[in-house]
């Protein structure tokens, strides 16, 4: 018997700390998060003061300047600083990643729990529902939703991505709940007279929370990527600097040797996606309760 009680989260953190690559990725994720917070503060500041932020000011005399000491990542076709816009782009990327997760994860978790726990007709219906969603080509469906939303721009992106990407998580949660439902501790909870809702959400859910955390860390960069594609196609973000818009505008002059905007945005996107994916992978190992003993 150990002298001090250790929580399972503490155990997971200890295992994660041993993984150097994961810790590096965690650092990168924290760095991006701070950038996003910084971007939000800058945005709010200018909004309250009602002035145009510097990253939006056009200066045609300084268009297409190569990286230099005054513009570390060069300037774009309207003379705006690429680095400043890149940082503001993190803000949009995070907003998309977090808000779409807040739409998709509750839908996936709740439907998955209901399907796995109750089985029978409830399960049939939910499986039918997600199979229907899964059978539609993802991007087309997202585009369709974004087109229908009256106020174009970010709301369309949030709903489009949020309402289409819950299927994978739902399927995973359903399977996990089915597995846990047969375990003795759930049988015991039933025998003790606990209600279905309490068993599902207070007893089973904490046991499958690692699935949700890992899914979040994997779907977050996917959502960011989808936003980039949507903005690139012109149905996403408007007016705000987003990575998709930047890539879209950079591609025009790429063949003329204006490489910097495209390069830096792509590197930032690559690093964000890589950091989240590797961290998600490491979290999956660290949080798996089967590794506890």
């Amino acid at each position: 018997m150990k002298s001090k009680s250790q929580s399972l989260w503490g155990d997971a953190w200890r295992r994660l700390k041993k993984n150097r690559l994961a810790m590096f990725c965690l650092g990168l994720v924290i760095f991006f998060t701070l950038l996003a917070v910084y971007g939000e503060i800058i945005y709010r500041y200018h909004e309250i003061r009602d002035i145009t932020p510097s990253y939006q000011l056009t200066n045609l005399d300084a268009a297409y300047e190569a990286p230099s000491s005054s513009h570390w990542m060069g300037t774009d076709g309207l003379g705006r600083d690429v680095m400043a816009r890149l940082v503001q782009g993190v803000r949009i990327a995070y907003k998309v990643g977090i808000i779409t997760s807040m739409i998709a994860i509750p839908i996936g978790v709740i439907l998955g729990c209901l399907a796995g726990f109750f089985g029978g007709k409830v399960d049939d219906f939910i499986v039918w529902l997600y199979s229907t969603f899964a059978s539609m080509p993802g991007l087309l469906f997202i585009l369709a939703i974004a087109m229908v939303v009256p106020d174009r721009g970010l709301l369309g992106v949030y709903l489009g991505i949020g309402l289409t990407t819950w299927v994978g998580l739902c399927r995973l949660v359903r399977g996990e709940v089915m597995k846990h439902k047969e375990q003795t501790y759930v049988q015991a909870a039933k025998a003790l007279g606990l209600g279905s809702g309490r068993i599902m959400f207070k007893h089973i859910l904490p046991n499958i929370s690692h699935v949700i955390i890992v899914t979040f860390s994997l779907r977050f960069p996917a959502a960011v990527g989808t936003e980039v594609i949507m903005s690139f196609l012109g149905i996403g973000v408007q007016g705000e600097p987003s990575w998709g818009l930047m890539i879209d505008s950079a591609r025009m002059r790429l063949w003329q040797g204006m490489w910097w905007e495209m390069t830096f945005v792509t590197i930032a996107l690559f690093l964000l996606v890589l950091a989240f994916n590797l961290l998600g992978d490491a979290l999956r190992d660290a949080l798996d309760p089967r590794l506890n003993d």
């Binding site: 018997m1 150990k2 009680s5 250790q6 929580s7 399972l8 375990q183 003795t184 501790y185 049988q187 015991a188 909870a189 039933k190 025998a191 003790l192 007279g193 606990l194 209600g195 309490r198 207070k202 007893h203 904490p206 046991n207 929370s209 309760p289 506890n292 003993d293």
Partner: protein
């Protein structure tokens, strides 16, 4: 009808199971796990249920505690037929009959402190006024099963098998039941730990007048702790009676075979 008269005629029965059937599935693939089983348990009695794996003894135990729905038959508990209870009435029945499972490792939620799990149960049944009072009850339950009350706020993986089984017993006692269904409660434990748990069960019987439906395949254990025993074979009870009679003078062919398979008898 005349059931009242008949109950007065013989001794008081806590649990009276009649013509109970449990059938899993439908049509061709159905399995008839429990066939026309009838028995009764008196208050404070340890009633053994023995038989080989797959004979339906666990299904019968689960039907009694209503984890499995019986297909037909009656389960009379203190004069109420509980075989078809639902909702609130079933929840009330949960306070009367509780269960201890075979696997002490799987029957505790790994992500929940063991004491919190018991507080949760008390909360659901509205026992105790507030969390402080419920925590005190948990401490008392831990003492009752021979555990340090301070251990209540730890996670299951910090306990040994025997300790976990004690925690499971404490959890089952939280609702102060009259009958405990013990499904192979010691078969996953070391022999020395088995003896301690069996002693605990005996002690609880003596202190709380708790009755047991003791499901086991271990005849030595049954012989030691049970008052009466039923032998199950292929879903049916083939022999039933006082433990000494059944084990020392088996009447049925199958009971003799079962006894012959155990070296010490």
């Amino acid at each position: 009808m005349n059931s009242n008269v008949s109950r007065r005629a013989d001794e008081k029965k806590l649990l009276d199971v009649r013509q109970l059937n449990v059938i899993y599935g439908k049509g061709k693939d159905s399995v008839h796990a429990v066939k026309d089983v009838s028995f009764h348990i008196k208050p404070g009695e340890i009633f053994g249920l023995v038989g080989e794996s797959g004979c339906g003894k666990s299904s019968l135990g689960k039907a009694v505690i209503r984890l499995t729905d019986p297909t037909s038959g009656t389960i009379d508990f203190n004069g109420i037929d509980v075989a078809s209870l639902k909702g609130r009435a079933l929840k009330t029945y949960r306070q009367e009959v509780q269960m201890v499972f075979q696997d002490p490792y799987g029957s505790l939620n790994p992500r929940m402190k063991v004491g919190s799990a018991i507080v949760d149960v008390l909360e659901v049944h509205k026992i105790g006024k507030n969390t402080t009072e419920r925590r005190e009850r948990v401490a008392a339950l831990f003492e009752a099963v021979g555990l340090d009350p301070n251990w209540a706020w730890r996670y299951p993986h910090e306990f040994s098998g025997g300790q976990r089984q004690r925690i499971c017993i404490a959890r089952a006692l939280a609702l102060n039941p009259d009958l405990l269904v013990a499904d192979e409660p010691v078969s996953a434990l070391d022999v020395s730990v088995q003896a301690e748990i069996l002693e605990l069960l005996e002690e609880l019987r003596a202190k709380r007048n708790l009755a047991f439906l003791f499901v086991s395949h271990d005849l030595a254990v049954v012989r030691n702790v049970c008052d009466r025993v039923a032998v199950m074979y292929n879903g049916e009870i083939v022999e039933i009676g006082d433990v000494a009679d059944v084990i020392d003078h088996p009447q049925h062919e199958y009971t003799r075979k079962l006894l012959a398979a155990v070296p010490s008898f």
